[in-house]
């Protein structure tokens, strides 16, 4: 076994080591924590890119923790989808961390950097694991870290939203455990690949229980993804969170979507009897309602960060419309749109922060305020982020939505899907135009501008996010080919099961 064979564990090991290290180092000097966090994120990105290159050959790698053979030990599975999510998480983490360091948001509380690293550990673990209980554990790791990050900086508004966020997620975790208990009792395994084979052997008398277990599991993922009617926790939480953290949280809802994409074809595929494709009848209507609610929220939002939070809900809805058919081409389009919508939401949160920092007491509220430094530059950034989020050309949102529209024509209800996607786009454009014109065009003349920040360095992180969106648009051919290949891999669980459950090769 060479050193390269251990690559799959590295994205979990790096933050797991960096977090306590940062905690210890920050007792001496805060700057060391920042340095450790940046180095750790860069190392994660390098490692994720290496895994992406490895997965891009079409190979599925199973890494047996402690070298225990598959159904008994825990495995990490690297395929195209997992590698793609790892790269996305690492890129997003770098952008969010950069913004937090530049705006000194990381100095508002004590443990920003350790919590940030633990959050990344949970994210990377959730993307890599091939074991359902391990998925629960990594969900908990990322949630516990997110509780801390969400409350970072404190204040009554954050505490109020924090109580609800924690309570909702605790209930979600409990339901997750019930679903796991049912599935274990029925199949006798927790390994996803093994479970996918064993669900076919569940006795006819237990089919009802299997269906309940599947629906409970899917509802938990829907709660994490903030799918209507389980979306109510998201907006209040994300709108009051420190924007740099909210930018990272943009990927947290996508973890729910990822878990859905990963678990449903693998465990509840064609062979699952009564639980075959168990969310299918509910997912498309729920996704359409989610998209509608999200972009309606964009239309009526009272502040830029609230608008960004609603945009997260709306884009999850659009994404799930494409997922709902479980067909390779639509799923490929969804995966491309997933990467795009995560970066676009992060860009929106960061622009909201830049505006709030320059307007003093007016914050990021969607009302005319005083003139502020760099208004045209920030306005341009906002416009680009809005274009990306709503899906107008030339940024990648347009390509993503175009691919989704094209691919859902294969579904029976595609007329509804088209209507919702196009309608929400229009509402979103009007909503962003309304807020943008209030903040960047109108001004209250007799107000003096708030003291401008000394530098324009805080524009760096949103610019990087937008440049990446441009790159995603320019490299759309390669990216969509990769996404389609990843979707095909996900929808062929027999192949990954063969890799995971092989006899010990070495």
């Amino acid at each position: 076994m060479t050193l390269a064979d251990h690559l799959p564990i590295v994205p979990i090991a790096i933050p797991a080591l960096a977090a306590p290290l940062a905690l210890l180092a920050m007792r001496r000097r805060q700057g060391w924590g920042t340095g450790i966090a940046l180095v750790s994120c860069l190392a994660m990105l390098v490692c994720a890119l290496a895994l992406l290159a490895q997965a891009n050959t079409g190979a599925i790698t199973a890494y047996q923790l402690g070298d225990w053979p598959a159904p008994f030990g825990i495995v990490l599975v690297v395929d195209r989808l997992a590698a793609m999510m790892l790269v996305l998480a690492a890129v997003l983490a770098l952008i969010a961390l950069l913004h937090a360091v530049i705006t000194r948001a990381d100095r508002k509380g004590w443990h920003f950097h350790p919590l940030f690293q633990f959050q990344l550990m949970g994210l990377n673990g959730a993307f890599l694991t091939g074991d359902l209980f391990n998925l629960f554990v990594f969900f908990e790791v990322l949630l516990i870290a997110s509780y801390g990050l969400m409350l970072h900086g404190q204040g009554p508004a954050r505490l109020k939203a924090g109580v609800q966020y924690v309570v909702v997620n605790l209930v979600g975790s409990s339901v997750f455990l019930i679903a796991l208990g049912l599935l274990y009792a029925l199949t006798g395994t927790l390994n996803m690949a093994d479970m996918g084979l064993r669900v076919a052997e569940v006795a006819p008398a237990d089919q009802g229980l299997l269906r309940i277990a599947g629906l409970l599991l899917v509802s938990v993922f829907a709660l994490k993804a903030a799918v209507a009617p389980l979306h109510l926790w998201l907006v209040r939480t994300y709108a009051v969170t420190t924007p740099a953290v909210a930018a990272l949280f943009a990927i947290m809802t996508k973890v729910g979507v990822y878990a859905l994409i990963r678990v449903v074809p693998q465990v509840f595929g064609d062979g699952a009897g009564a639980a075959a494709w168990v969310p299918a009848p509910f997912l498309l209507p729920a996704a359409m309602v989610t998209a509608g609610i999200g972009f309606a929220g964009v239309f009526v939002a009272r502040s830029l960060s609230e608008q960004a939070a609603y945009a997260v809900v709306g884009s999850t809805g659009t994404l799930l419309i494409a997922v709902a058919g479980w067909q390779a081409q639509a799923l490929g389009a969804a995966l491309y749109y997933l990467v795009h919508s995560t970066l676009a939401a992060a860009a929106l949160f960061l622009v909201a922060d830049v505006v709030a920092r320059r307007r003093g007491g007016f914050g990021d509220s969607a009302a005319p305020g005083p003139d502020f430094a760099g208004r045209s530059a920030v306005g341009l950034l906002f416009m680009l982020a809005a274009i990306a989020t709503t899906g107008l050309p030339p940024l990648s949102g347009f390509i993503g939505k175009l691919m989704i529209l094209k691919s859902v024509t294969a579904l029976p209800d595609w007329g509804w899907a088209w209507g919702v996607i196009l309608g929400t786009t229009l509402i979103g454009v009007i909503g962003f135009a309304r807020v943008g014109s209030a903040v960047f065009w109108k001004q209250v003349p007799d107000l003096t501008a708030a003291s401008a920040p000394a530098t324009r360095a805080d524009l760096a992180a949103p610019v990087i996010a937008l440049v990446l969106l441009g790159a995603l648009s320019a490299g759309a051919g390669w990216a969509s080919a990769y996404a389609n290949a990843a979707a095909a891999q996900v929808l062929d669980p027999a192949r990954s099961a063969a890799v995971v459950l092989q006899e010990r090769a070495r």
Binding site: K160, V163, V166, S173, S174, L177, G181
Partner: protein, 128 residues
């Protein structure tokens, strides 16, 4: 009456009580509800390995019949996580009460219902 019935009804009562309390508007009741709910979940997970009596979970030369050890390990993990989370939510509710002066889950100043048995202090809890 079988053991199955006893365990199943205990889980059912705990879940019902937990959900009822978790839907209440005051944080303390919600915390109690979550605790009951998590007890029920732990019992349920434990039972997912089937209920058997007087059988060891680990290897023993004298016996041939074992109980499933995996749910016990899972329950241990779940208990640890729930314990930590309960501690967090207690502190968080307390902090929220001290900062906003209200123990309502929305942080709003809502007059107490008579059935809550709480004397309304007019939202001055933070200064108490």
């Amino acid at each position: 009456m079988t053991y199955e019935f006893l365990v199943a009804s205990a889980i059912g009562v705990l879940v019902a009580g937990g959900i009822f309390l978790a839907l209440r508007a005051r944080t303390f009741q919600v915390v109690l509800g979550l605790t009951l709910f998590s007890y029920a979940v732990n019992l349920f997970l434990f039972a997912s390995g089937r209920l058997v009596l007087n059988r060891p979970p680990i290897w023993n030369a004298a016996v041939t019949q074992y109980t499933d050890p995996l749910p016990q390990a899972l329950v241990l993990t779940a208990i640890v996580i729930t314990f930590g989370m309960t501690a967090l939510v207690v502190i968080l509710s307390l902090r929220s009460f001290l900062e906003t002066g209200s123990d309502h889950v929305d942080g709003d100043h809502v007059p107490s219902d008579a059935q809550d048995g709480i004397v309304d202090r007019g939202g001055q809890g933070g200064q108490a």
